[in-house]
């Protein structure tokens, strides 16, 4: 993570007041936009994303590279503050808008109230410092305790995440740990201040499956223990099925479908979700010789297609009427807690899934 210049707080926007707190979900993201200015043009990495998450729940964000899932989560963490980066919209965390909050304020929340686990623990940890010292540093930023007390805490955390012989291992360097142990150590670091929001960006992608199973179990246990809200970003639909309560499917910087994990897997309504489900190979069954792959490639975020961004790859685009090429569909609620952004009529979506998609899943 490179150090980025902190953005100046904007005094003209109202600071989060207590009025905003009433009935707001723990995390409430509204119309979030993240844009990077580059020499090739403006990259609309996140383009009007809205979702909410309560404590004790796990949200799985699914999407391919360039769908904006990481850009959105970095924005929530307040890590999108480069000079060429514009973040707009609202990110309410526990009744406080992080987009308008001062950099100082966001920094004090980061690590304490919200923490992040990255995909590659080897590059997310400093190779030159002992694991324990890195955890101690993170802890002491937010707690006024002695190094000694912080070290006791570090040992406790390493022990909690299942590092054997934590008392000795606290003095190891990152390279002395295996991939799974490093990921555990990073989880320990993220948990050092009991965050209420934990964002895990592809936390198990670099790990072997047996280690992945251990880490997913660990996240599950920790959530029960601390009642935290977890956002897990992944491209592995199996991981989502295992750990998530709700699923947000992202495409070209926006959510195309959001719903409970059961609905997303058993009654998905967006053609892109169908494409994802049909194109994966499955452990639990032998599929037809050819997979039903989604044709084409994900679009560039510099020139997102007009209308529905998925329409050039959508085999049902013709059924959706001319609007699909000109008008961007908005997320509409189709059932309690289930939202879909698609121009196809609801009946058509239900019918197509039942008759054409489901039989081949």
């Amino acid at each position: 993570m490179t150090e980025q210049p902190e953005r100046e707080p904007t005094p003209d926007q109202p600071a989060s007041g207590p009025t905003a707190q009433a009935d707001r979900p723990y995390l409430d993201v509204r119309d979030l936009k993240v844009m990077f200015r580059t020499d090739d043009g403006d990259v609309h990495a996140v383009n009007g994303l809205s979702f909410a998450l309560e404590r004790g729940r796990t949200l799985g964000i699914v999407g391919e590279s360039g769908s904006g899932k990481s850009a959105a989560s970095l924005a929530v963490m307040g890590l999108q503050r480069g000079r060429r980066t514009t973040v707009s919209g609202e990110i309410w965390l526990d009744g406080e808008n992080l987009v308008t909050a001062s950099a100082e304020r966001v920094r004090s929340l980061r690590g304490r109230e919200m923490a992040m686990i990255f995909q590659d623990p080897l590059s997310a940890m400093h190779p030159y410092f002992k694991i324990g010292d890195q955890i101690i540093e993170a802890y002491r930023v937010h707690h006024d305790v002695s190094k000694k007390a912080a070290k006791v805490r570090a040992v406790e955390l390493l022990d909690r995440v299942g590092i054997p012989d934590a008392r000795r291992r606290v003095d190891s360097y990152p390279h002395e740990f295996s991939g799974g142990m490093r990921q555990r150590a990073m989880i320990a670091m993220a948990l050092s201040c009991d965050p209420s929001l934990l964002i895990a960006d592809e936390p198990t992608t670099a790990l072997d499956v047996t280690v992945q199973a251990q880490i997913l179990d660990l996240l599950n246990d920790l959530q029960k223990e601390f009642n935290s809200a977890i956002i897990i970003i992944t491209h592995d639909l199996g991981v989502v099925a295992e750990i998530a309560d709700e699923v947000l499917v992202m495409y070209a910087g926006n959510a195309v479908e959001h719903g409970g994990v059961q609905e997303i897997f058993s009654a998905p309504q967006h053609p892109y979700t169908w494409g994802l489900l049909s194109s994966i190979t499955r452990l639990d069954r032998t599929r037809a010789d050819r997979l039903r792959a989604v044709p084409g490639n994900p679009p560039s975020l510099i020139a997102v297609p007009a209308g529905c961004p998925f329409h050039p790859r959508c085999q049902y685009a013709d059924l959706a009427g001319p609007a699909t090429r000109t008008e961007r569909p908005t997320l509409e609620t189709v059932a309690p807690g289930h939202r879909v952004a698609c121009h196809l009529p609801v009946e058509a979506r239900v019918r197509i899934f039942r008759e054409e998609v489901a039989p081949s899943l």
Binding site: M181, V209, V211, T281, D284, D289
Partner: protein, 394 residues
């Protein structure tokens, strides 16, 4: 371990780009060819022979299998571990591959699965003879290629090609797509001029790219398209065997499906034989006819697709299959999950006898003293375990 230098095979080296590293690895391996078999190895072999006799002599049947394009017998690849700054002193060996017996039949796809450090990539490299085996034998098309020199290997290179994991590092960024795909053809040297260009165009079309892409550079392509370029290069010389080392792991879901389909189409169109190395058990299920599971340099179970996924016998296979989450929440929450404790031990110092015994919940004394041989206990289904047991896990 930081004071030692391990000549370790890089996980996914770009083709040719790391020639120096490759040469270094080769030379270190060459320094100990024909190393005497250790006692344990003899024990193992005797044991295996005995057991094979006792059970159905499946090994013998397979040995006579005229369909085998590749036959590997007691293959070993060890990398010396040295210490000392001025004079390298050998203090041990990473037994990356330690006694493999299997065959790849013509026209089939053999899936090789295992976790990192299991030796699956090293096995692929030894068969492609990018590495020289420390012991054992590799036969290709009836010919012993175990210790062929680089020069004698050259005519065979056109028959054995590789597809690599990372489409970003396996293509030279300074060469055009045309010259990348033409490179193997130029080395083999039977095409030039217009015929060469025509062949390159044909290859581009074969993998679903437009012939106009000839003069573009790799950076102009997406990951999936780059992997197609790598596939076109591998197919340029009309190989018999394609060794694909994690060919779709770096690709996005929708693009991965396209490349998996392409590999299948090419196989039926061109009659290719694949060795498909991957850690993703669901992709392997889709693409393989037979599957071998590796653990710490040995094969613990080998069966056809249905046998492996529907009736797995080895505890490690059970753990592996149960660890992969299936994309069906209701089913996933009902599934039995075997949680393995700890990480896989290092191949530098593998556990004695059955290598899985320290992590195995069924281990008894015999597992710590006698290495179980890989025996065929059902037709076409081999397992190396003292207590094999069928279990439904997917």
């Amino acid at each position: 371990m930081n004071s030692h230098e391990v000549a370790k095979p890089a996980a996914a080296e770009p083709a040719g780009a790391d020639a120096e590293a490759e040469a270094a690895v080769l030379s270190t391996v060459r320094s100990e060819p024909g190393r005497p078999a250790t006692l344990t190895k003899d024990d193992r072999a005797a044991e295996a022979a005995e057991a094979a006799e006792a059970a159905d002599p499946g090994g013998a049947v397979e040995a006579a299998d005229p369909d085998a394009l590749v036959r590997v017998t007691d293959l070993q690849v060890h990398f010396p571990v040295t210490s000392g700054a001025l004079v390298a002193r050998k203090i041990g060996a990473v037994r990356a591959v330690d006694g493999l017996d299997f065959a790849i039949r013509r026209g089939e796809t053999l899936g090789l699965v295992g976790e990192s450090g299991s030796g699956k990539s090293t096995t692929g490299r030894a068969i492609a003879r990018l590495l020289e085996p420390t012991g054992g034998k590799v036969e290709f098309d009836g010919r012993d290629i175990t210790h062929l020199s680089a020069r004698s290997m050259r005519p065979l290179r056109r028959d054995i090609q590789m597809i690599f994991q990372d489409p970003y590092t396996s293509l030279n960024p300074r060469h055009t797509v045309g010259s990348i795909i033409a490179a193997p053809l130029k080395i083999v040297g039977d095409l030039s001029g217009d015929a060469l260009r025509a062949r390159v165009r044909e290859l581009l079309e074969l993998v679903g790219l437009s012939p106009e892409h000839l003069n573009r550079y790799p950076h102009e392509f997406s990951g999936g398209q780059r992997q197609r370029i790598g596939i076109a290069r591998a197919l340029a010389t009309d190989p018999k065997l394609v060794i694909a080392d994690e060919p779709v792991s770096a690709l996005d879901v929708s693009v991965r499906a396209q490349v998996v389909n392409l590999l299948g189409d090419l196989q039926s169109e061109l009659g290719l034989t694949y060795l498909f190395i991957a850690h993703d058990l669901s992709v392997v299920r889709h693409i393989s006819d037979r599957v071998a599971v590796m653990y710490l340099g040995t094969i613990v179970e080998m069966a056809d697709r249905a046998g492996m996924y529907e009736h797995p016998l080895h505890p490690y296979t059970h753990a592996l299959l149960s660890a992969v989450p299936v994309p069906d929440p209701a089913k996933q929450h009902r599934r039995e999950r075997i949680l393995l404790r700890g990480d896989p031990p290092t191949p530098l110092n593998p556990p004695a006898a059955c290598r899985f015994n320290p992590r195995c919940w069924k281990a008894e004394d015999v597992c710590r003293t006698v290495e179980p041989p890989l025996v065929e206990i059902q037709p076409g289904h081999q397992v190396a375990c003292h207590f094999p047991e069928e279990r439904e896990l997917v």
